[in-house]
């Protein structure tokens, strides 16, 4: 059996499938508790159902980008390892870099098909161990930070609210500009989506259609994809 067939062995599929089932169970438990807590706090069931629908629709489009990375990695590493890494903890960019580093450390030339089993094993170690840092955060950092913030809230609730908004603005500002750095098409898509969002907000204000508010972000994203196609294929900008 060649190396690539071994990377796709039934045993590895079963191991990864087992880990996925566990992750699904964890997410389901959190989801159920979040639902019950939201009900307890007085949020209506109808609103929660809309939130679930909105979460599903928002998740679909960005998942396409993750699928694209899966397509790049599968011919090189087989299905189980990329599937595991992109579903659990994974950030698409880091997984490609991690795979490349692991393969090169074992004497390979990078992300090309035809790697050896040694290079595959090396990639698996680098991607798994380096990628597990967030879990260490879960164990040692999240609770102390959350408790500290809760104490601060008791002392100064207003400031914690402002802190929350400022931190979010800082993060979104960086990612907005970082994505504009991709090129002229990205800049035009950002501007187009910004203007379209403002238009949708005006329409919502006039019509008060709840579905529009719930699905605003996925609608804007679909518009953005269409705008990217129009800008590149019709206007031939950045093509």
């Amino acid at each position: 059996m060649d190396a690539y067939s071994q990377m796709n062995s039934v045993f590895l599929f079963l191991v990864v499938g087992g880990i996925m089932a566990y992750v699904l169970f964890q997410a389901f438990m959190f989801m159920r508790k979040g639902w019950n807590e939201a009900l307890r706090l007085g949020i209506e069931k109808g609103a929660l159902k809309r939130i679930v629908r909105s979460a599903i629709s928002i998740t679909i489009i960005p998942s396409i980008q993750v699928l694209l990375v899966l397509i790049v990695l599968v011919p090189i590493l087989g299905i189980p390892l990329p599937w595991l890494r992109l579903s659990v903890i994974g950030a698409a960019t880091f997984e490609m870099m991690g795979a490349q580093t692991g393969i090169v450390a074992a004497g390979g030339s990078g992300l090309v098909s035809g790697i050896t089993l040694e290079q595959f094993v090396s990639a698996a170690w680098v991607m798994s161990i380096a990628g597990s840092v967030p879990l260490l955060m879960n164990l040692f950092v999240i609770k102390p930070v959350a408790m500290s913030l809760e104490r601060s809230k008791h002392a100064d609730k207003r400031w914690v609210g402002i802190l929350s908004s400022c931190a979010m603005c800082g993060l979104l500002s960086f990612y907005l500009v970082d994505n504009m750095h991709l090129g002229i098409v990205a800049i035009l898509v950002v501007v187009a989506c910004l203007l379209f969002s403002i238009l949708l907000a005006v329409v919502y204000k006039k019509t008060q259609k709840k579905w529009l508010q719930d699905l605003m972000l996925p609608i804007v994203m679909i518009f953005g994809l269409a705008a990217a196609l129009f800008i590149t294929n019709v206007l031939h900008i950045g093509a």
Partner: protein, 232 residues
């Protein structure tokens, strides 16, 4: 000498669950995660040269650590710890999970940082996590027929601009209404990214830190004003 006691907080049943289940389930995930390459090595009878891969592991770990710490400090007050536990298990925090939660809060006019926000964030990120795992599982099964569609050069510009589209929308939803807090970090972001060419490891914490600093200065000024004019 007076010793200041740390205030004992009363946690709700939900908060206790979040911390307890979040910690133990993450520990089990960590064991499974570290166990996976070990199982692969035992199955194939091949172990890597650890002296060669250790520098790479440490380098990546450091980059991820800095980004994670920034995400914890940013999202903890906004979305709550429950959302973070799930984000760090399933990944894609800033580009998928966080926008999902923010959109849910915005659509239902729930202020960030509240108990309601924490519960809604846990719900929406839980749904998003399940959907992502399912989409990737379906994608893994249908990889052969999906590849020509997703690799189509005509459609490529659309798939290359998913993130710009998302952040363009989020900008309108969050940055514009909070423009007083957004102006300075936006300028800092432009300087860091376009001017200095800094990567996320430096630019992201810088933007968040500057934004918080500006907010703090503004808040202090507001407090001073209120102190000076208590009756207005």
């Amino acid at each position: 000498m007076v010793h200041k006691r740390k205030e004992t907080l009363e946690l709700t049943a939900f908060e206790k669950f979040v911390f307890r289940f979040g910690t133990w389930s993450s520990l089990l995930t960590l064991v499974l995660f570290w166990g996976f390459p070990l199982i692969v090595s035992l199955y194939f009878g091949i172990f890597p040269n650890f002296s060669k891969i250790l520098p790479a592991i440490l380098t990546f770990a450091l980059v991820i650590l800095i980004l994670n710490v920034t995400e914890i400090l940013t999202f903890s007050p906004t979305l709550g710890p429950g959302a973070l536990y799930m984000c760090f298990v399933t990944g894609n925090t800033s580009n998928l999970k966080c926008p999902c939660a923010l959109s849910a809060l915005k659509a239902n006019d729930i202020p960030t940082g509240t108990k309601e926000a924490h519960a809604i964030s846990v719900l929406s990120i839980g749904v998003s996590s399940i959907v992502t795992v399912i989409i990737l599982a379906v994608g893994a099964i249908l990889i052969v027929p999906l590849t020509p569609i997703l690799s189509n050069p005509v459609l490529k510009p659309a798939f290359d601009n998913v993130m710009p589209a998302m952040f363009g929308g989020l900008c309108a939803l969050f940055l514009l209404p909070s423009w007083k807090y957004s102006v300075v970090p936006l300028i800092v972001a432009f300087i860091c990214v376009f001017g200095l060419g800094l990567n996320a490891m430096i630019a992201l914490p810088a933007c968040v830190a500057v934004s918080v600093l500006v907010g703090r200065i503004g808040y202090k000024r507001t407090l001073q004003k209120e102190k000076a004019e208590p009756n207005t």
